[in-house]
Symmetry: C2
Subunit: 370 residues, 2 copies
Amino acid sequence: MNENFTRLLIGSGESSPEIRYLTGISTPDDFICIEHAGVVTALMSKLEISRARQVAKPGVAVLPESDYGTSRSEIIEKTAKVLNTDCFEVPPSFPLGLAEKLRSAGIKLKVSEQDFCPGRLNKSPGEAAFITSSQRAGEAGFARAVEVLQESSIANDKKILWNGTVLTSEILRAEIDCAILKHGSLPTGTICAGGIQSSQPHNAGSGVLFAGTPIVMDIFPRNPETGYWGDLTRTVVKGKAPEIVSKAYAAVKDARDTVKENITLGADCAKLHQMAENILTKHNFRTGISDGEPFGFFHGLGHGVGLEIHEAPRLSPRSNAKLNGGEVFTVEPGLYYREWGGIRLEDLIYLSPEGSVNCLTCAPDFLTIE
Amino acid sequence: MNENFTRLLIGSGESSPEIRYLTGISTPDDFICIEHAGVVTALMSKLEISRARQVAKPGVAVLPESDYGTSRSEIIEKTAKVLNTDCFEVPPSFPLGLAEKLRSAGIKLKVSEQDFCPGRLNKSPGEAAFITSSQRAGEAGFARAVEVLQESSIANDKKILWNGTVLTSEILRAEIDCAILKHGSLPTGTICAGGIQSSQPHNAGSGVLFAGTPIVMDIFPRNPETGYWGDLTRTVVKGKAPEIVSKAYAAVKDARDTVKENITLGADCAKLHQMAENILTKHNFRTGISDGEPFGFFHGLGHGVGLEIHEAPRLSPRSNAKLNGGEVFTVEPGLYYREWGGIRLEDLIYLSPEGSVNCLTCAPDFLTIE
């Protein structure tokens, strides 16, 4: 924090991780938040003020926005007068439209050059526990999926049959997501993609699931009370796996586990990505582009997880980050080919400030389900 | 659209309704979108490009961002050169940090003064059908809650008992949310607040539910494929309702139904809010502030629903909007008192371009469940 500036944010607690981090308040609509002389103030509508007072982090002042004005710019201009300042430091995401209104009213805005909430990168044990709790909900979802696939049989045409009907991505996803809900977290777009659909990393999956092809399950629940996410991916095959799928699974597992063994304080995130890529290549799985469509390993090795599902640090070829301790991040190499589908295996890691590597994922590893 | 400007947006399809509306693509991470000479172009990462090509709206060009550069500002600067322009029109939400980088590289940005996607306000029949589909999922959730409460019994200490255990907000919410999932939509923060908790409109509810006090259920699922929301609120009491709760229920229902009868082309949104407020006052329910906490009817009467859960038009005292036909919006008066809790009843309305008023909500109205 630059002490010469009062800090100003606007956003909803649901979409703005900074606002949620600073205030603890989550709302569907935007509100204004000011940090001045170390005190965080949230300016709330009548609709939210009573609840906001109850859920706000200790020390956060919750005041009625209607005492300051009706429009956003009015409220901020009045606040500036009350605080006797004409300068605010704002995050890079601050909306340009509002910035121009404020500047034309004589308010100075300076975009923060450092991270606006540097504490978000280095998780406290309490934050790691919140993430772990969401991760457990995701694991309960995966366990339910495994149960469903164990109970299933295989029809002559290779369709998977369960509970008297043909199993689809939609049915399997609903089973996973209900298990997540019963563990107190919210599913947010669970991926359950079978066959060729699994060759697109973010294809959510739809339609009939078949035996003998990969089913990628990427499960990322959010706890609605804490706002923290979990993130888990496993890939399974019902029945016998084709040889190429088994080989790809072994390669991805080797890449994930080798990277996990090489996580240390000071590790370079781009080099960890490169390590995974090298291992996949060593296993004879190529990465490239064919007819304008990428194949092989074409996404980053991992990303931070916290109040955002994708946040710092990024583990990718272009990342400048080094691990300093306190980060929670995924390690999730994958291989994707239009010919047979995809494999992705994702674990969640908490590197403690002292350098111990804690895997927050407890889901088991196996490819085939009889 | 101002024809002198090429339009520029950045955001994720998940958080930016404009980007989703223009491209049809939904992603967890931000991407750049350009509209030039009537053609919308989405610049995608390798991770998303193959899927984006499949899900993009007809006519949207999907190109690899890596052909243009690595950083966001690089990609936009290169695009400007390719299009032979140095001016972009951007929405008010465009991030200030990126705007300053682009301006220092000589790119001109003009914040749009009109609505960036005016078509979003006036829903097509297809959009109304998407919203209705999410609404049906919410109604399935409400029907499940009613079933649970019908199956419940009342203990001597007034706790509600169900399925061999004490019924809590968490259990009832999980039952509602599982029903939503099985109807193909995602629950997003279902409110299930009993007793005094129901006096805070956005309190999600926690802990034991009791007979004889209001249970507010506000259910707003989103279809993950279309991105459109539904929104539904009902309030029920298990067992006998206290007289004040029955009177408040009758008042809120009168306000909701009278407003619904007065929706016409050209109706003034602020006046509809005032009409609801007058009816509640006529029923002897006061609105005000006591010890800094609001009581009575202290939120807007309603809001538009579409690719955002809260969007235009706003039906509130400060709204300047008039209804022009094509809007989908809620009518949801409520009364909230710390002494006994809250009542809210919310229906979803589609005012057709020809002026017919279609209620998209099919959930029944009743206060008590034996």
